[in-house]
């Protein structure tokens, strides 16, 4: 073997070894998840059945091919036979596949009928997709909230020099973590009513075998009945614009007792924030406080479109830096856009997502950051006055 050949081999071998030894191989999943519901296990079984059948057919067909490629080659002196038609054979290999297909269609049909049976649910939750977060609303409970990606921007924008590292400086649940997960009870039939505020999204949790499109203006149904408490993660499964890859779903399944405790806790929290909302009306915040809260709110809720620099991504997402609405325009108009949004555009209303205080802060921030030095201070009461209706 020549010198250069050896070097090639060595280099190739090293590359290969480094790929094989990379950190996370151990957790790499090859197959579909079995999941944690009766339906998801049925789906898994169906998947395995289809896989085995395809493998078996493959072995027979490719086996025959390789056999003839090996034994019927010209270089071995094979002489071509003369047959080129046989109605019998054609009928045979039309009917056998039909029988196999029926064998797959029967269990598929029964699983599907199961999946589509939305009756008798005990808990109903409305799931609404919007660019790029999920909103959950519990029926008969007066609980609703948004669920937003909680992986810090620095991690996916590789701002910690993690460019070189495969997953270095990234959390374990990188891109699959949210601020407030959906909470549902175990061993109860939970029904989801799925819709969207803007474009089409799809709500998908593999462990439940639930994937359902969220269509604007229409409501889809899906259900699950989870038998194991735990945390289950999924993602939006329909291209919904820029940050489609950044709107995960996290579902925390609690035992029925823990679930009830959680409900009570949520009710208490809601009462408290209503009080805070009222209190903020009469309170007046300092510029420092407003700018600080404003910056954090802006980064969490607005920067995806308008960018941390305020420059936006024109023409889709307008700049706020130097824009008339955030400089020379009236404060009331500015509040109105943020509170009520602009119908039929990516700018949704933040009135129901943010507190009055947060909206006041974010508007203040936008009017004073990036050289928009208007000096305007906006208080909760102004928001109430300008945006409330």
């Amino acid at each position: 073997m020549s010198r250069s050949n050896q070097r090639w081999l060595l280099g190739g071998g090293l590359c290969f070894a480094s790929l094989l030894s990379s950190s996370a191989w151990a957790d790499t999943q090859l197959n579909l998840t079995k999941g944690v519901t009766a339906v998801s296990r049925e789906v898994y079984d169906l998947h395995m059945l289809a896989l085995y059948i395809c493998t078996a057919i493959g072995v027979v067909v490719f086996g025959a091919m390789f056999w003839s490629m090996f034994f019927h080659r010209k270089s071995k002196g094979a002489k071509a036979a003369d047959f080129h038609e046989s109605t019998k054979v054609e009928i045979l290999w039309t009917t056998i596949p039909i029988v196999i297909l029926i064998a797959m269609a029967v269990p598929a049909t029964s699983t599907l009928i199961d999946m589509e049976n939305n009756d008798n649910s005990e808990v109903t939750i409305q799931v609404t997709g919007s660019q790029w977060k999920w909103h959950y609303k519990y029926f008969d409970q007066n609980i609703e909230y948004y669920s937003v990606l909680s992986t810090p921007r620095e991690q996916y924008e590789n701002q910690n020099g993690s460019f070189a590292g495969n997953g270095a400086n990234k959390d374990e649940n990188y891109l699959l973590e949210v601020d407030k997960p959906l909470v549902i009870p175990a061993n109860k039939k939970v029904r989801f009513l799925i819709t969207s505020d803007d474009v089409i999204h799809a709500w998908w949790v593999p462990a439940f075998a639930v994937k359902q499109d969220a269509n604007p203006g229409f409501i889809n149904e899906a259900w699950t009945n989870v038998d194991k408490p735990g945390v289950y993660r999924g993602q939006c499964a329909e291209l919904c614009g820029k940050d489609h890859g950044f709107m995960p779903i996290v579902v925390e399944v609690k035992s029925p007792e823990d679930y009830d405790a959680w409900l009570n806790e949520q009710h208490a929290l809601a009462a408290k924030s209503a009080d805070a909302e009222k209190a903020s009306l009469s309170a007046s915040m300092s510029k420092e406080e407003l700018m600080q809260l404003g910056e954090s709110t802006y980064m969490a809720y607005c920067a995806a479109c308008h960018q941390p620099t305020g420059l936006g991504l024109p023409p889709a997402f307008p700049a706020l830096k130097g824009s008339p609405i955030a400089t020379t325009g009236s404060v009331a108009e500015h509040i109105d856009v943020v509170f009520n949004g602009r119908a039929g555009t990516g700018m949704q209303g933040y009135g129901k997502q943010l507190s009055l205080k947060e909206i006041a802060a974010v508007v203040t921030y936008e009017r004073n950051a990036w050289g928009n030095d208007t000096g305007d201070l906006v208080q909760s009461a102004d928001v109430k006055a300008a945006g409330g209706e």
Binding site: I57, V61, T109, K170, Q235
Partner: protein
């Protein structure tokens, strides 16, 4: 009118028109009405588009090499995937097949040219403009289309980045080009066959293009309709797909996939025709079950009109609809299976040799079948809820389109290169192309099955850490596959420049009228129709 009289009048026309004064330089290509020239134009255009779409794919794979956003912004990423898909479907695969149709159909049926030569010129020459508009939108303020090659409303209407008008205009031009090409194919096959060539004596290649052309004529207007509705929804205040105005975004998907599913067969039926020509040639044995192949192709084409909603199982269809589309989709596997079995039976007890066209054809049969298997799995509605919009689907359609359609195009190109250029291509370089492509394409697409099953959605610029390892392999496979295609370019250029002189019939097992003329094929062939009985003996 009988076939003969049409033939004569056309041959005459041609005589008075362009015989003997073949133009030179650029005008030859601009004004040409010669089916061989136009075929060449289509083939080069499609290869350029393949490299362009491939370059976009390289950027996509570089971004996905590691978790985290490294080289492109998410919105630009969406533009890359969208334009990649559109270029590959409408710019690379479809024009390549039209190129084959132009070069080969007249020679295979003993006709002097395509029936409508001027329209033929036009249907090619509007294509570069369509793609100039599409690719040019990258350099406009709006950016390129970013809503996926499936352009679902309302992401492509109310929420579009402003590229919708350019996109619609480009698609309209592509559609007009396809329809004109298809009409030409139908008219040529129906009217210009050599005397005595009945339908059931046509080469299977001709049959598959005939059926494909009908599919195109049926569904391209549907595509034109849906993009027009998109245009008016975006700019003229209609609400076809907007619930607020009484429309329905899911209706968009029904109309799109009513075009879209037949479209995928438009991209595979001609491939069936090509490998059905090559496998018998290198097995030195007649194609097994010719008539069942014709029937299978026709039934696939018919069935392809009633399975579209298998792309929409998660949109919230009623149970009955889901069952209907599941059963129909599963049914398509039957005629597809028949084709595969017939190819295997053709090889069985043949006298096989493995020149490059045959290698690509054999790889086609195996890898296309793998794509068919995953298609069958996707057809099962309950499991499709898990597979849908994941990398499993990406693996499926790349197996049928890359190792299916594209491999058949390579097989055909190697098979007919001697006829086109008059030279034999360099067999060992071609084998390099084959083996590099084969290995890298599987490294590229096979692990995508695992990624999809493990839960990685498609069309995302960044992913969770458990997907990191496979994505690295996939990207390496992608770069290797991309580079391997340059070998093909080298083979073709070498083959045009020179090489061993090709005899009229370089493959001893090949059959068909195209091998009765010299290599390279003279500029005008079959000015008088061949006598089929003489040819056969």
């Amino acid at each position: 009118m009988t076939t003969e009289t049409i033939n004569e009048s056309l041959v005459d026309d041609h005589h008075g028109d362009s015989h003997d004064h073949k133009m030179t330089g650029i005008t030859r290509w601009l004004y040409t009405t010669n089916h061989k020239d136009i075929g060449t134009l289509y083939l080069w255009f499609s290869f350029i588009m393949l490299l362009t779409g491939g370059a976009l794919a390289m950027v996509i794979r570089a971004e996905l090499f590691q978790p985290g956003l490294q080289i492109v912004e998410p919105d630009f990423f969406n533009q890359l995937t969208t334009v990649h898909g559109l270029i590959m479907v409408f710019g690379a695969i479809m024009p390549a097949f039209t190129g084959f149709a132009n070069w080969m159909l007249p020679m295979m049926i003993g006709a002097p040219d395509m029936a409508l030569p001027r329209m033929n010129n036009w249907s090619f020459w509007i294509l570069p403009f369509a793609f100039a508009i599409l690719i040019g939108s990258f350099f406009m303020e709006s950016g390129a289309p970013n809503f996926g090659w499936t352009f679902y409303a309302p992401l492509s209407t109310t929420y579009s980045n402003g590229s919708t008008a350019f996109f619609v205009f480009a698609v309209h031009i592509m559609g007009i080009s396809s329809i004109m090409g298809a009409i030409n194919i139908v008219v040529t096959i129906m009217n210009l066959r050599a005397p005595g060539m009945t339908y059931m004596k046509m080469p299977l290649f001709v049959w598959t293009f005939f059926i494909t052309a009908y599919l195109l004529i049926a569904v391209m207007p549907v595509l034109a309709g849906v993009v027009t509705m998109l245009l008016t929804d975006t700019y003229f205040g209609t609400s076809f797909f907007d619930a607020a105005g009484g429309g329905d975004p899911v209706m968009f998907q029904h109309i799109f996939w009513f075009f879209g599913h037949p479209e995928v067969y438009i991209m595979i039926l001609p491939a069936f025709g090509i490998v059905s020509t090559i496998i018998p040639a290198f097995s030195r044995k007649k194609l097994f079950g010719y008539s069942s192949m014709v029937y299978a192709t026709s039934s696939i084409a018919l069935l392809s009109f009633i399975v579209w909603a298998h792309h929409m199982f998660t949109t919230g269809m009623p149970l009955f609809g889901e069952l209907f589309f599941m059963y129909c989709t599963m049914l398509i596997a039957v005629p597809t299976g028949v084709k595969v079995f017939n190819w295997v039976a053709t090889m069985w007890r043949g006298s096989m040799s493995f020149e490059t066209p045959m290698l690509f054809s054999i790889a086609f049969v195996i890898l296309f079948t793998i794509g068919g298997f995953s298609g069958l799995m996707l057809a099962l509605t309950p499991v499709d809820f898990q597979y849908h919009d994941t990398y499993f689907v990406v693996a499926h359609f790349h197996y049928v389109l890359v190792t299916g359609s594209l491999f058949s195009i390579y097989a055909g190109a190697y098979f007919w290169l001697p006829k086109w250029t008059g030279h034999m291509y360099n067999e060992s370089l071609a084998k390099w192309h084959f083996w590099c492509s084969l290995i890298s394409v599987n490294l590229l697409f096979f692990p995508m099955h695992f990624l999809g099953l493990a839960g990685m959605p498609r069309r995302i610029p960044d992913y969770a850490l458990q997907f990191a390892d496979f994505n690295k392999w996939v990207s390496i496979g992608g770069f290797a596959f991309g580079l391997s295609q340059l070998i093909f370019l080298a083979v073709v250029i070498k083959c045009i420049r020179g090489g061993e002189k090709a005899p009229a019939k370089p493959w001893d097992g090949a059959e068909g009228l195209e091998w009765t003329v010299a290599s390279p094929a003279p500029y005008h062939t079959f000015s008088t129709p061949p006598n089929l009985d003489e040819v056969k003996s």
